[in-house]
């Protein structure tokens, strides 16, 4: 008796695995984002962007009902790995989407790729994932980390700034940022100043900047640090004298706190809310109506990630089992990206345009970045050639 039940159960399980009716099952997408701590607003933007896309697509991706499972990585790589393993083994997700931070992105790569699951980054683009450790299961709808910094380096070079003051927090991403800036900037660097991570008072840096009188400053100060730096830079009267070039320092996640202090400051990006494409206009309008805040590039990347999955599944008829077919479909990037031109390079990172953006106050009193000029056209990251994967 007991044996019969076991046999029946076994048969049922086998039958299920082989069932052709899999396409009817819900598609599962795991969102791994930082949703707690001081940087939680970035994760919230990405989550909202993805969910808005799913809503716009009628609750389906590629014709299949979709189950979006959101987990908080707490900005801790070890926590992220545990939660990602849960998504892979317990929830059996078809895609992992996220994360925001590069240290998390590197940590979760191995379990996802080992499980032969597709991994779509909506923000983090560390150099090793773009170069030596690239993977055929990895795609990014964002950028390689250095690229936004390179935009400002190119601008500083093209505008003929002779002396630039560099300022970044003292950790890996800060050092990478300044290295990225220096890739195209060949002028004199009067000071390369590193402050401790989570510095909130920049008054002594500002005194140094004022005394050195550089032609411009370049900084990478994400989150609350950037809010303080911008407000203090403005209060010190430097904003009108020394151009403020930055990356990840003035964007839609920090502008609600920086407000007027940031107006006129520069950033580098692959997109801005005022980018003139019809899809983008609709996206920005819908996002603001739904979440009462201006979307940043974090939302845009996540929205595009959902469009990408949708387009690939449409090409495979909703099937995810044939990994090679799914990969080929993903690689085509057959969707209308909110940012306009978009295709994948050999390493799964986008080949796209980059812009110098400038903070502006809109007529409704809200703040956003606006495109000032295009700096790079169809730009490939510097690490793509180190990637040996054939995806």
């Amino acid at each position: 008796m007991n044996l019969t039940i076991k046999c029946l159960g076994f048969a049922a399980a086998m039958g299920l695995a082989a069932s052709p009716a899999l396409a009817q099952e819900k598609l599962k997408v795991g969102l791994v984002l930082t949703l707690s701590g001081p940087s939680a607003v970035l994760g919230q933007q990405a989550r909202d962007g993805f969910q808005l896309a799913v809503k716009d697509l009628g609750g389906k991706l590629g014709g299949r009902d979709v189950d979006v499972i959101v987990v908080d990585d707490e900005l801790k790589p070890d926590v992220a790995v545990t939660k990602v393993k849960g998504l892979l083994e317990r929830d059996k997700v078809d895609f992992v989407v996220g994360p925001i931070f590069s240290n998390v992105a590197v940590a979760i790569q191995k379990p996802i790729v080992d499980a032969k699951t597709f991994y779509i980054s909506t923000n983090a683009g560390p150099s090793n994932l773009a170069g030596k450790s690239c993977s055929p299961f990895f795609f990014a709808t964002s950028y390689q980390n250095d690229q936004n910094h390179e935009v400002l380096g190119k601008v500083a070079q093209d505008r003929g700034y002779k002396k630039v003051y560099l300022l970044a927090p003292n950790y890996q991403a800060g050092k990478d940022a300044l290295a990225g800036f220096k890739r195209h900037y060949k002028g004199e660097i009067v000071e390369e100043s590193y402050v401790p991570l989570n510095t909130l008072d920049f008054q002594s840096e500002l005194a140094k900047i004022a005394s050195m009188k550089p032609d411009a400053i370049f900084t990478f100060m994400p989150g609350g640090m950037g809010v303080n730096l911008v407000k203090q830079y403005r209060a010190a009267g430097l904003a009108d004298r020394i151009p403020f070039l930055s990356a990840f320092t003035v964007d839609e996640s920090t502008l609600p706190a920086q407000q007027d202090a940031a107006v006129g400051m520069f950033g580098g990006s692959n997109w801005a809310p005022n980018l003139d494409t019809p899809q983008n206009k609709t996206f920005v309008k819908d996002y603001e109506a739904a979440y009462n805040s201006v979307p940043g590039s974090y939302s845009m990347h996540a929205y595009d990630a959902a469009l990408l999955i949708d387009s690939a599944l449409k090409a495979t008829g909703g099937k995810t089992e044939d990994k090679d077919a799914l990969r080929a479909a993903l690689k085509k990037a057959d969707f209308k990206s909110l940012r306009g031109d978009f295709k994948f390079g050999t390493n799964g990172f986008p080949i796209q345009d980059f812009y110098l953006v400038k903070v502006a106050k809109r007529s409704d009193g809200k703040f956003q970045t606006e495109i000032e000029e295009k700096v790079f056209d169809d730009y490939t990251d510097a690490y793509a050639k180190e990637c040996a994967a054939t995806n």
Partner: protein, 306 residues
């Protein structure tokens, strides 16, 4: 030029030191008088900043917001004392550390739940929003001078309170020998409560004062708490005077050291090595300073006499 830069950095150091003092004053009293390690003291600083952010959004006036925030911070400190900390005085330090750490985690999440994770913006009060040009090309915000003035005023007030009033005498006595004070018929429980509430209010005041120049965000009290502990250890636990001096010293060493360490090292090393070593050494300076002070005076600069 270097002299003016030094002056500006000294002003910055003084301002930073005074903020540290406002936080450390409460911490050193609570630690000294009650022998209670309160890791959640930094959270009071955050609460003060959030309160002033909320009240100034509501009233549109920073001064009014500050007037409302101070009693609220006091009430909040007392509430925590009655609900949680009171039950921990007789426990050992490890229990206190664990419980107060729990309070940090809880309150950091609570402010995020109420106000969201994004940093909040508090406008600088209109009358202090100007700035004065100290040196060519650098404007020094008047508001920072106001912080310095307010910090000094509070320090003076504390000095008078502690050394000239009856409550102050009890607090000093309590820091030296709480059992004796209790045996002499003083309600030590109430004394503890007064000290605790007052300390919480001072930390809240510090948070409220910096809210317009720093961003108000969850976890903002966590980093400053470590420095506040450094201050009270250098100053001597339980000593307001020690906390004051140590806070100013830490503020100056940190700010001036960070700014000039590479320049000073340039006398001994080639420029590239100097700036690299300077960057590495600058953040360590306050801890090197602490180690040096403790080497010569293991119980701090002005230990409460026992």
């Amino acid at each position: 030029m270097t002299a003016t830069l030094l002056l500006i950095q000294a002003l910055n150091g003084l301002q930073f030191g005074l903020i540290l003092f406002l936080i450390a004053a409460g911490l050193t009293l609570v630690f000294g008088v009650m022998d209670f390690i309160n890791l959640a003291h930094g959270v009071q600083y955050m609460v003060g900043a959030y309160l002033v952010a909320a009240f100034s959004a509501w009233t549109g006036n920073f001064g009014l917001a500050l007037l409302l925030a101070l009693p609220t911070a006091l009430a909040f400190g007392l509430l925590l004392e009655v609900l949680i900390f009171r039950h921990l005085y007789d426990r050992d330090h490890l229990d206190q550390v664990l419980a107060t750490f729990g309070v940090i985690v809880f309150l950091n999440q609570a402010v995020k739940f109420i106000w969201g994770a994004a940093p909040l913006n508090v406008p600088v009060p209109e009358i202090f929003s100007g700035s004065i040009e100290i040196t060519d090309g650098l404007l020094y915000p008047v508001y920072r001078l106001v912080i310095i003035a307010a910090g000094l005023a509070v320090a003076l007030l504390l000095y008078v309170l502690v050394s000239r009033t009856r409550v102050g005498m009890l607090v000093r006595a309590g820091a030296t020998n709480p059992q004796m004070v209790s045996a002499l018929g003083v309600n030590i429980q109430r004394l503890f409560m007064v000290v605790f509430g007052f300390g919480a209010m001072l930390a809240g005041f510090a948070g409220a004062m910096v809210a317009p120049i720093l961003s108000v965000e969850p976890g903002m009290g966590d980093n400053i708490l470590i420095l506040a502990f450094v201050v009270i250890v250098i100053g001597g636990i339980g000593s307001i005077r020690g906390a004051f001096l140590a806070a100013i010293l830490i503020g100056l060493v940190d700010t001036v050291g960070r700014s000039f360490a590479p320049n000073i090292l340039r006398f001994f090393l080639d420029p590239a090595t100097a700036s690299q070593t300077g960057r590495a050494v600058a953040p360590m300076l306050i801890y090197i300073f602490m180690a040096a002070v403790l080497f010569f005076r293991p119980s701090g600069l002005f230990p409460a006499k026992r």
